[in-house]
C-alpha cells in the first residue's frame, strides 16, 4: 500500500516546474559512494488485508487473554469508558503536531489546561505541566529539578520506590555528579524512619516517597515531608497508582514540594508498558525550574480567552543546553485520555472508583491471609496492592496457579532477594468477587498440595 497522493501527471508537471527529469536527480547532493546501491532487504509491501492478518496472528501468539491477571506494580488494569476511546481517537486530536500555532490548536491547548487543573486538584499542588514521558522518567526529572532548585546533589531513594523508577533515576543521574542513597524499609513495609533519619542531612537535596509504595503500602508522607523540611530538604512524592489520588490525602496536603508519577490508571490501557502518562506538579515557587510544556491562559486581540504554550524560556527551543529538561514531544494524547476519563468519572465517580479498589484489594488480602500457610510480611495498610508470603517459593505458586489460568501477581525475588517467598498482588475494581474467591481457593489448593 502506498500513501502517495500524486498522479503520474502531477509528478511530471512538478518535475517540469522544478526543472528536473526525475525525482532521483533531486538526490544528487548525496555523494554517490554513500548511496545505497541495492534495494532494502525488507519484506515486499503488504496490503491492508495482509497487515490486518499479520497483526492478528501476532496478537494470537500472545496468551494474556486466557488468564486472569493480578499483576500491578506500576501498570494497572482499570475499566476504560467507551467515550474515552471514541473521543481520543478523533483525527483532530490524533493527527496534529504540538500546538505551536495556538490559534489553530485551541482544542489541544484547552484540554491540556484542563489536564493541568485536574492534576493540581488531585495532587493538591499549584502548578502542573502538560505531561512527561512516564512515571519513571518523571521521577528522574523531579530529582534533577530538586537538585537545580537547591543546588545539592544527595538524593534519598527509598527501597519502597518502584525498582524500575530507581533504575531510571540511576541512569539519568549517573553522569551528573549526584549521590543516590537507598533507604531501607521496615516491618510495616514503609520507609524506615530510623534509616531515613540516619541519611538525611543538610547536604541532602531531596527525599523521595512513593505512596502507596511498591508493596502497596501507604506511606507516612506527611511525616517524611516534615522531616525533610526540618532539614531544608525537598520532599518529592511519587504516585504510580494514580487511582489512589481519589481517596488518599493529596501529596500537596502532606508537605510534598514536587509530586510526580504515572497516570496510566486514568483511562490508558496496559499496552505492554506504553505509551503511558508521566505527570508532574509542584508549588508555584519552583516554576522556573519546572520541566516540560505548560499551557497557559491568555487573551486574543479581541480580549477573548485563549490558551498558548507558555513559559517556553525554560525549554530547549530557546534555552538550549540550559533548559529545565530536554523533553520536547511529550504524551499529549495520553493526557487527553486521562482528561476525558477524569471528567467522565467526576467527583463522585472518582471517589467510588478509589473506594472500590481499596475495598476489593483488601477483601482479597484478607481472604489470602486467611489461608493456612499464607502470611503478610508487612503490617502497613494497603490500597490496591499487597505482598503475601508463603512457605513455598513464589515461582512454584505461580506455576501452579497458571495452570488454573491465573497469573497471581509479581515475584519480588528479583529486586528483593530477601522476599523470595513473596509475591505482589494487585486487585482493582475490574475484579469481581467470584474471581477473587476462586483465586483464593486455588491458592489454598496449591499450598495444601
Amino acid at each position: 500500500m502506498s500513501y502517495i497522493s500524486l498522479s503520474q501527471k502531477d509528478k511530471k508537471e512538478m518535475l517540469k516546474v522544478i526543472g528536473a527529469s526525475s525525482p532521483q536527480e533531486l538526490f544528487d547532493s548525496i555523494p554517490d559512494d554513500i548511496k545505497l546501491k541495492r534495494k532494502l532487504k525488507i519484506p515486499k509491501a503488504k496490503t491492508e488485508p495482509e497487515i490486518m492478518e499479520y497483526f492478528n496472528q501476532m496478537a494470537h501468539k500472545n496468551k494474556n487473554n486466557e488468564y486472569i491477571c493480578f499483576q500491578g506494580a506500576g501498570a494497572y488494569r482499570h475499566f476504560i469508558p467507551a467515550a474515552v476511546d471514541y473521543l481520543s481517537s478523533r483525527g483532530e486530536f490524533v493527527s496534529p503536531y504540538t500546538p505551536y500555532q495556538a490559534e489553530v490548536s485551541q482544542g489541544t491547548l484547552q484540554l491540556i489546561f484542563e489536564f493541568q487543573t485536574l492534576i493540581c486538584q488531585l495532587t493538591g499542588m499549584e502548578i502542573s505541566n502538560a505531561s512527561l514521558y512516564d512515571g519513571a522518567s518523571g521521577t528522574a526529572e523531579a530529582v534533577l529539578m530538586a537538585s537545580r532548585i537547591n543546588r545539592k546533589s544527595k538524593i534519598l531513594v527509598p527501597k519502597t520506590l518502584h525498582p524500575h523508577y530507581r533504575e531510571v533515576i540511576k541512569t539519568y543521574t549517573k553522569n551528573l555528579d549526584m549521590d543516590i542513597q537507598e533507604i531501607k524499609y521496615d516491618d510495616s513495609g514503609q520507609i524506615s524512619m530510623t534509616e531515613l533519619k540516619k541519611h538525611l542531612d543538610k547536604e541532602t537535596s531531596a527525599v523521595l516517597c512513593q505512596s502507596p509504595n511498591y508493596f502497596g503500602v501507604i506511606e507516612n508522607l506527611d511525616k517524611i515531608s516534615s522531616l525533610a523540611h526540618e532539614n531544608k530538604v525537598l520532599s518529592i512524592a511519587v504516585v504510580t497508582e494514580a487511582s489512589s489520588l481519589g481517596l488518599l490525602k493529596p501529596p500537596g496536603e502532606q508537605g510534598a514540594d514536587i509530586v510526580t508519577g504515572e497516570a496510566q490508571s486514568f483511562g490508558i490501557p496496559l499496552s505492554f508498558g506504553g505509551p503511558y502518562l508521566g505527570f508532574m506538579a509542584c508549588q508555584k515557587e519552583f516554576l522556573r525550574q519546572f520541566p516540560g510544556r505548560i499551557s497557559g491562559e491568555t487573551k486574543d486581540v479581541n480580549g477573548n480567552q485563549g490558551f498558548v504554550l507558555t513559559l517556553s524560556t525554560r525549554e530547549q527551543h530557546i534555552r538550549r543546553e540550559r533548559a529545565t529538561s530536554n523533553i520536547c514531544t511529550n504524551q499529549a494524547l495520553c493526557a487527553l485520555r486521562a482528561t476525558i476519563f477524569l471528567e467522565l468519572l467526576g467527583k463522585n465517580g472518582l471517589r467510588q472508583w478509589s473506594w472500590q479498589n481499596l475495598q476489593k484489594a483488601n477483601y482479597a488480602y484478607d481472604l489470602l491471609k486467611g489461608i493456612k500457610g499464607v502470611k503478610s510480611p508487612f503490617s502497613g495498610k494497603v490500597y490496591n496492592e499487597f505482598v503475601i508470603q508463603t512457605e513455598k517459593d513464589w515461582a512454584d505458586i505461580e506455576k501452579g496457579l497458571m495452570k488454573k489460568k491465573i497469573i497471581p501477581g509479581i515475584s519480588l525475588e528479583k529486586y528483593y532477594p530477601e522476599l523470595k517467598k513473596c509475591g505482589l498482588v494487585c486487585v482493582t475494581e475490574v475484579s469481581q468477587k467470584q474471581d477473587l474467591d476462586r483465586f483464593a481457593e486455588q491458592f489454598k489448593e496449591i499450598l495444601s498440595a
Binding site: 548525496i30 509491501a45 497483526f55 501468539k61 531510571v168 487573551k299 534555552r319 514531544t329
Partner: protein
C-alpha cells in the same frame, strides 16, 4: 464561533458521566481508619456523558490537523497517519497485555519489537536498536549516554560535545543532561557543517559530534564521511539526529556514513501520529561497538522463541518504566510492512519532490538564505517581506486564515525569520498548490495590504493570542 467553556464552568453538583457497578465484596468502612484520607475535591468536575462528548467534540474541531489539510511544519514530517495502523494498535491482545507478563504469554509482542528492530537495522545500516526512548529527545539522551559509557569504558568520558549552530534545541539540552559541555560548530556558506571549524574544535576532550542529516535546512551533509573521519581520528564518536530520515529511506544509510549512534522519530518518518504532542517513540540505533551499552531489558530470540534479556553488564541501565511505547512500535511496523522496500524509497523520493516543487514555486517570492540543493524541506525567510515590516509570524498567522498550517518558525536559529517548510510525500498537488498560492498571495498582500497580515488570523477560533501576557501573568490552571 462560540468559545467552548472550560469543563469546570459547566460542572454542577450531582451530575454524572460514569457509574461503577455496585461494590460486590462486603464493604469495610473502617479500612480508612488509620490512613490519611482526602476531603472532597472542591470544584472537581461533575458533568454528564453528553456534556463530556460535546465538550471534546467541539474542542476537537478547534484543532487543525493532518486529517483536515496540509501541515508543512518543518522538521516535523507531518505525513498522513494511516488508519489501518490505528486499528491494529487497538487489537485487544495488544492493549490488554500487562508489561510484567512472563515472556511465554507475550511472544507476539516480543516478536513485534524484534521485527521492527530488524527493519530499522536494515533501513539505517546500524547494528542494533533499543525502543525504550519515549521520543526523539529521550533518544538523544540515551544516545549520548551510550557514547559516554563507551568512552568511559575506554578510559575517559571526555568533556565536550560539538553541535552545529543549525541544530534542534534538544541536541544541546540532551548533551547537557548527559554531563557534557556543548560547543557550537559553525555552518559554512552552503549551510552544512564547516569542516574547518570542526577540525579546529575536535580534540581528545571532545566526546562526540551531534549531526543532523539532512540538516535542519534540508541540506544533505555531503561531507559527513569526512566529518566522521575527523571525529573518529581523535577518538570521538558521531551521533546522528535522525529526525529527518524521511529524506533518506532506501536512498542511503547512516550506518554507511560513519555514524555510530542514531535516533529515529517513529512519529515522524514512520507515520505514527503525533497526537497533538505525543506520544512519540525515539528508538536509538548503534554500531556493534556500542551494543553492550544499550538499555535493558533487550529482546533476544532463539529461533522463533523470544525472551527478555537483562544480562548486559555494561548497559547504561533502564530509561523507561517498561519497554518504551509499544503501541507506537506496532504502528511503525505496520507502516514499514505496508510500504515495503519500494514504497519506502518512493516515500522519500516523493517527499523530496514535493519539497522541491514548493521551493521552486516560491523562490521568487521568498528569500532562501542557503542556495544549496535541499531534500525533504527547505527554509525560507521573511527577509523580502520584512521590507514591508511583515515578519514570519504575520505570514504564519495569515496562512491560518487561508486554511493551511504555517511552517516552523522557531528554528534553525541561523536563519532569521525562518519559515521551515516540509510538505511530506503524502500531500496531493492540489494541496501543495493551495499552500503555494497562499504564500504568493501573502507576498502580494505584504506589499499591497499589510494590514490584513498584521491583523491575521481573522477567521480562526480565536484571533491572535497574546503570548507575552501568558508568560508575564501566568495562569496555568483554572480557578473558580
Amino acid at each position: 464561533m462560540i468559545r467552548e467553556r472550560l469543563i469546570f464552568e459547566i460542572s454542577d453538583k450531582g451530575k454524572k458521566g460514569f457509574t461503577f457497578p455496585e461494590l460486590d465484596v462486603p464493604e469495610k468502612k473502617n479500612l480508612t481508619d488509620s490512613i490519611p484520607v482526602r476531603e472532597d475535591i472542591k470544584d472537581f468536575p461533575q458533568v454528564s456523558e453528553l456534556e463530556v462528548v460535546r465538550h471534546f467534540t467541539r474542542l476537537s474541531q478547534a484543532n487543525y490537523c493532518i486529517d483536515k489539510g496540509i501541515y508543512p511544519l518543518g522538521s516535523c514530517t507531518m505525513k498522513y497517519n494511516p488508519k489501518i495502523n490505528e486499528k491494529v494498535a487497538q487489537i485487544e491482545n495488544f492493549i490488554s497485555a500487562h508489561p510484567s507478563l512472563d515472556p511465554k504469554f507475550c511472544q507476539g509482542n516480543l516478536e513485534i519489537l524484534s521485527e521492527l528492530e530488524d527493519m530499522l537495522i536494515e533501513i539505517t545500516g546500524m547494528k542494533a536498536f533499543t525502543f525504550q526512548p519515549a521520543a526523539g529527545a529521550q533518544g538523544e539522551l540515551v544516545g549520548m549516554m551510550l557514547i559516554r559509557a563507551c568512552l568511559e569504558d575506554r578510559g575517559d568520558p571526555r568533556k565536550f560535545v560539538l553541535i552545529p549552530d543549525s541544530a534542534h534545541g534538544t541536541n544541546p539540552s540532551s548533551a547537557h543532561i548527559c554531563g557534557y559541555k556543548v560547543k557550537e560548530i559553525k555552518s559554512n556558506k552552503s549551510g552544512t557543517v564547516d569542516l574547518e571549524d570542526l577540525r579546529k574544535n575536535m580534540n581528545k576532550d571532545v566526546a562526540a559530534v551531534m549531526i543532523t542529516n539532512p540538516n535542519t535546512l534540508g541540506i544533505f551533509e555531503c561531507q559527513i564521511k569526512e566529518a566522521a573521519e575527523i571525529v573518529h581520528s581523535q577518538g570521538g564518536l558521531v551521533y546522528m539526529d535522525g529526525a529527518n530520515m524521511n529524506a533518506l529511506m532506501g536512498i542511503c544509510r547512516p550506518g554507511d556514513m560513519g555514524v555510530d549512534v542514531i535516533h529515529l522519530n517513529l512519529h515522524k518518518t514512520f507515520s505514527t501520529p503525533h497526537g497533538g504532542g505525543g506520544p512519540g517513540s525515539g528508538p536509538v540505533g548503534v554500531q556493534k561497538g556500542l551494543e553492550p551499552y544499550l538499555p535493558i531489558p533487550r529482546i533476544k530470540h532463539k529461533g522463533s522463541h523470544f525472551s527478555l534479556d537483562e544480562n548486559y553488564p555494561k548497559t547504561i541501565g533502564r530509561i523507561h518504566g517498561f519497554y518504551g511505547h509499544f503501541l507506537v512500535v506496532v504502528k511503525a511496523l505496520a507502516y514499514i510492512l505496508s510500504l515495503g522496500p519500494d514504497g519506502l524509497k518512493e516515500a522519500s523520493e516523493t517527499a523530496v519532490l514535493n519539497s522541491n516543487y514548493i521551493r521552486k514555486s516560491l523562490e521568487k517570492e521568498y528569500h532562501l538564505k542557503y542556495k544549496a540543493p535541499t531534500l525533504h524541506e527547505c527554509v525560507f525567510s521573511d527577509k523580502y517581506q520584512k521590507k514591508h515590516n511583515i515578519s514570519n509570524i504575520d505570514i504564519a498567522k495569515r496562512l491560518i486564515d487561508l486554511k493551511v498550517h504555517p511552517p516552523t518558525m522557531s528554528f534553525p536559529l541561523i536563519v532569521h525569520g525562518a519559515l521551515m517548510t516540509e510538505p511530506t510525500e503524502t500531500e496531493s498537488k492540489a494541496d501543495l498548490d493551495l499552500f503555494i498560492d497562499a504564500m504568493k498571495q501573502i507576498d502580494r498582500e505584504a506589499k499591497e495590504n499589510p494590514d490584513v497580515l498584521k491583523s491575521a488570523p481573522q477567521e480562526s477560533y480565536v484571533r491572535r493570542l497574546d503570548e507575552t501576557k501568558a508568560a508575564r501573568e501566568p495562569r496555568l490552571r483554572w480557578k473558580p
